[in-house]
Symmetry: C5
Subunit: 355 residues, 5 copies
């Protein structure tokens, strides 16, 4: 089966709106659900086998962070939707891993979705994963496509009581989650920058191994980054313009910092695009230069020898009446003419700056 048959958005055509359909990689792994309940005083991590087990904790005066690995099980999503009273369209967006990053306030919840980038297989393949965050007054739900330790450091600091989030509302944890992802972009982009720098060196050193496909690949990856970061910036922009009432002013400052990072990332990507297109120019021009020098060699050799080869042909003719052939210095004169002809050519080529 070809790669291009996966991840099709057209699967949704014809379904009633608000039906969560998993769009993305096929995935049959189990779904892990982890609950982290914390307050200023304490924090506890609990593995849930079923989403409804979190209900008792919600009643307490604590904050619940529920993390769900895998969005391919739409039954679980529907359960979550019921417990936390989430709008069906939001559930649909969580299940659709092809969704455009966005921020939305639906009812009393904030819904945020963004992408995570990771290079795999020896930095050759860029893996893109969708993360979704639902923020309520005393709970945060996070979803990702596959298991992993993306939020490990945040969780650890929360449990150890080192994080400021312990004494703050869900908006600060929300910020921490977003900030972690945005910081991870730097890593992916710096890997890509290294690749492009390597390519540049290859082109300049005129190594044989270089081909345009890697350049096209790098360009595609830059486009993917841009497609993820542009709407992210937009979403953060909505937050820092205080369109939401659920984020404290003290937290806005932090979001504003993340916003600056996204702008910085966008500018870095744009710069790399400019550099890539410059690289293409250099590559094409180097090619054309090479062609030029090949042509010159051919032309110089051909132009020098063609006339004197003709001359040799002339004196190889078998005419009976052929005065020159009998001359005593005929052969010497032939070489003299050759030398003069070649000398003239070389002088001409020098004047043309051909070598």
């Amino acid at each position: 089966m070809k790669k291009k048959n996966h991840k099709r958005l057209s699967k949704k055509a014809g379904l009633p709106p608000g039906t969560p359909v998993h769009i993305g990689r096929e995935n049959n792994s189990d779904i892990n659900i982890e609950l982290l309940v914390y307050s200023e005083e304490s924090a506890e991590l609990i593995k849930l086998s079923n989403i409804s087990e979190c209900k008792p904790f919600l009643a307490e005066n604590k904050i619940c962070w529920i993390h769900i690995d895998g969005v391919h099980n739409t039954t679980i999503l529907e359960d979550v939707g019921e417990i936390f009273n989430i709008h069906p369209l939001v559930l649909e967006d969580i299940a659709n891993t092809q969704h455009r990053p966005k921020y939305e306030e639906v009812g009393k919840n904030m819904f945020f979705t963004l992408k995570h980038f990771e290079y795999e297989q020896n930095d050759m393949v860029l893996d893109i994963e969708q993360l979704s965050i639902v923020v309520g007054a005393n709970y945060i739900l996070t979803f990702r496509e596959k298991p992993g330790d993306l939020y490990a450091k945040i969780r650890e600091r929360l449990l150890n009581g080192l994080s400021k989030a312990r004494s703050r509302k869900t908006d600060y944890l929300f910020y921490l989650l977003v900030d972690t992802i945005v910081d991870s972009y730097y890593e992916a982009i710096e890997k890509l920058e290294d690749k492009i720098e390597d390519m540049e060196e290859e082109v300049i050193d005129d190594k044989k191994g270089f081909d345009l496909h890697s350049l096209q690949l790098a360009r595609r990856e830059l486009i993917l980054f841009l497609k993820a970061v542009f709407p992210l910036r937009e979403s953060l922009g909505k937050i820092i313009r205080r369109e939401s009432t659920q984020i404290d002013d003290a937290t806005i400052v932090f979001f504003s910092d993340v916003y600056d990072h996204t702008i910085h990332i966008i500018e870095t990507i744009e710069t790399q695009r400019d550099i890539l297109s410059g690289l293409l120019d250099i590559f094409l021009s180097a090619n054309s230069n090479k062609m030029n020098s090949v042509m010159k060699v051919l032309t110089i050799i051909a132009t020098i020898f063609i006339p004197i080869t003709f001359l040799a042909g002339v004196y190889g003719m078998n005419f009976k009446f052929f005065p020159e052939l009998g001359w005593e210095y005929g052969y010497a004169i032939f070489w003299l003419i050759c030398l003069i002809s070649v000398g003239t050519m070389i002088y001409y080529f020098k004047r043309q700056k051909w070598f």
Copy 2:
């Protein structure tokens, strides 16, 4: 008759404004009119032979959805205009299948027009059709150019009572219709993405079959998509900015979701355009590489043989006084000179990295 003589907007020049003139493919088929009357309790599908037959149903406390296949019969359009009190300019827009997608509130009606894309004939030909929707308080009129089952699923769910639309106003059915079309865009665009991916493989594998016309065709189709989706996004933007008073806030959320889809579609198209232009670069550069290698072969062969061919010519001359010809090792020396000359050339080419 050539294709380019159809679908001319210039046919309208000089006519008084508000005259419905059919602009589009020639079409002589009959026009089907279907009426779907529904309320929360019941739903019924009735085939009408004449548009005026719908009048009795309009008086009832139900919602009437009248679907008309074919806009080439302007008499019927005028009848519809009279019964539902539609502004002449709207009728003109419905009959003009070249119209730009738009949303307008005229009097108490909302008028919405958009495009439908379908690949026909083995996915080779992109067919574009214009759909128009007129939304009134208790009726919805839909027009399309040719018969088909575009809205089959909606109709079915309405009749079976599965659709939420049964208990809502016309604005929700309006949303369902628009959503169905926008979802169908994914299908068409994914087919185009597949085509472009195939082209990319052809270029990279350097197959002989590839030609630039298919690339130009794909570019044209992307432009057509953009021309349809850009104004559609604009129209949906007007709706979600609540410029209209006829759409409930609860329905706005759904339109906002469709709006997000159009943005996603636009970004997908833009990405494909970038990929196409990268493809052209690769193709041209591969061509230039091929030329380079052809030139090198020519130059190497010519450069190696031209000088020694000259030498053979020299010793084929018939001068009477020609000392070398009488030497005992003359012929052997000739081959020695040839070998040295060829060796020097090959060394030079190696140093130039020509092979």
Copy 3:
């Protein structure tokens, strides 16, 4: 005299502002003035030999439409300015046929200027003409550069009482005039689209007749269209944003329709520009392909024959001590070597996919 010495805007440099100077084609023809007086009850067309003859009609409770053919006679313009109390800068703009389309409200008058396009001489030459419209409470003045029947249909319907304009104010006639011109754009642009389609076929069929000048010409014409339609859209935008108090709301709907048409026209032009630039790519790439195949033929022939020609040269040498020449199968061996050499080459070229 060269074409580029006409139509110079620099003629105005140094003149006091508000001096009407005719800028445009030289024109010595007479100026026709036509007056169409109409009210709901009656309509009458009168040829005027002098602009002041219209004064008695202005006093009546009717609408006067005065059409003037030719703006090269600045004396007449000044007379008009005096009678209708028109701002000198407006008169200057009317006389300057190079002016950018614009809409302005000056005092109690509206001033509108736009371009008319027409293909002449067998559709080869695009002729651009400037039209100006001055709208007052009970009169409309229209100016064009040369005589013609541009408004013939409007005039006819007005005289026959078929036009709704008879029962409306000047704003509706104003709309009719603008609408007529904008509709006529479709005709000109469709002719250009046909030309571009023809070019595309020529390029694809690789006909010899195609040259880039026609492509450059088409591009120039598209630019001219854009330069005329962009400011026109802007002007209509001002009208539909109700910046003017002289246009009734009922008429705004109609202007809004014209506005949509200009957007549609702009998008069509942009599409054609994209297609043209794609065409250039195809053309250049086809050229480069052709070059490639020419080079291949040369290289194959040269590469095959150069080595065996050298060999023939060798056995044409006249060395006295030349063992091979005396061999019984020498000649046969020569041909054998030739065949092997040629076979190897052909195998190599096949492997390189050169043919």
Copy 4:
């Protein structure tokens, strides 16, 4: 000394702000100061040897227009600043002839700076000069870099009493000055248009004289124009948006007219840029076409003669056992083979449409 060491803005680095430093061409000529005092009744032109001589006239109930040729003498600028109470930063801007055109209201004065373009030396060299205007309630100061008769016509009409400015405030004279400069742009741009048209003809006629440097030069000049006109439009935009209280509404209409001219100029420049880039395409494509036809000639000649030359070489060999040489019709058969070979080639080339 190289040209690039002049006009350096870096000269200012490290100086305290508000220090007028002359940045521009070296200039040692004397500075002329002219005073034109006028009121509705009278007007008088006075040459001043010293700027302070104007003081008595300022007290009168008249308008003083002081024109200063040359901004390289910063002492005079400082005197002017003191007399008219001008902000030091404005003086700095006047002395800096590299300044970006701008409009500013500083205290009770308006400050306007713009560029003047002139082709010199047989229309080959574009000279750019900076003009500054300071407008007060009853005085106008104008500065230019070098002497000349730029405002000659305005001055003349003022002195003769023909100008409306006599009966108006300084804002109208201000308008007259700006209008004169903007009108003079048409002249410079039309000269450039002529040059570009000439280039186009050269490219199309494929004259040998054409080189890309003139195209690059024209592009550079277009950029210079744009860089001057864009900020000028911006400045005029500020004026017509009535941000200033010192300009009467009646004068705003006139400024609005100048504003339209700048838009027209910008569009003209953009058009010329499009045409230039089209020209480059044509030029490159013509080059590539020429290369193509050169290659074809080479290939045809080589391909026709290489095989038969080989054959002639074969029959020039000296093998002892060489049956064909003894045949009676050997020579005739040789020619027959040559004819067949050449005929086949020519047929092949015809089919490839090479000639």
Copy 5:
């Protein structure tokens, strides 16, 4: 170790927000701290060995300007943060030398960060350094990456009492600092302009030394400039829009002047980019022209000699029955045919305008 392993932003990933981490060149030099205390009456420069030594001066009724060389010691930064009550995110930004220029008001402080450009090593290497400024009511903190005399002139004038800053608030010193940096941009950009001008001359004179790498380098540097100046303009824009209450109106005028300079710098950079891309066109086109002329020489020589070489080959054949060889004028006729053939060729090439 490769250059690309430095300056990594990814070092920050996973750290809690507000942790100052030095991102930038490795730097082990000591950190200098200088305190300049001034009031209208007096000014004094004090070298501090420890940041806490500044505390006594802060209490006085004077302004303290503390300059710190080196941001790689995060302990010192944290001390500064504590003494002056600076937000942790600001400290993080100061330590991150890769930060995007920005302006922010955090609490009662203003925070400004921008870049400084300097050409080093014989103008070959562009060094970029980050400068940060924190402005409080009675103190200003400045940070730079490495020691240097960037602010030497300001400091000197402050100490000598020549600067107006002595009698003003911190906002004016703030302006002076920013103005000094922006003025220094002109120097760096003018050096780059000189380089580009040199390149242009090399391309036009067709010197051998020119290669595209220097062009790519210049393009990269222009991008770096743009990336620094764009956000700087944005920041200054915030200031002059009076978003801050800590800057006096009298100082706004000065900032407005700096703002104009940044716009001027941006336009200069854009112009240079246009010129660079024009340069690439010229370079490529010159290359293609050269190729053309090389091809022509080859074609002319080959085309002239190939046919007559064939003829010489023919008369070198050894057929027994070969009538021409015995003719008395055979040899002369051979030369006659050669002359005619060559003459025809030359005539043809002339007509094709090949030389």
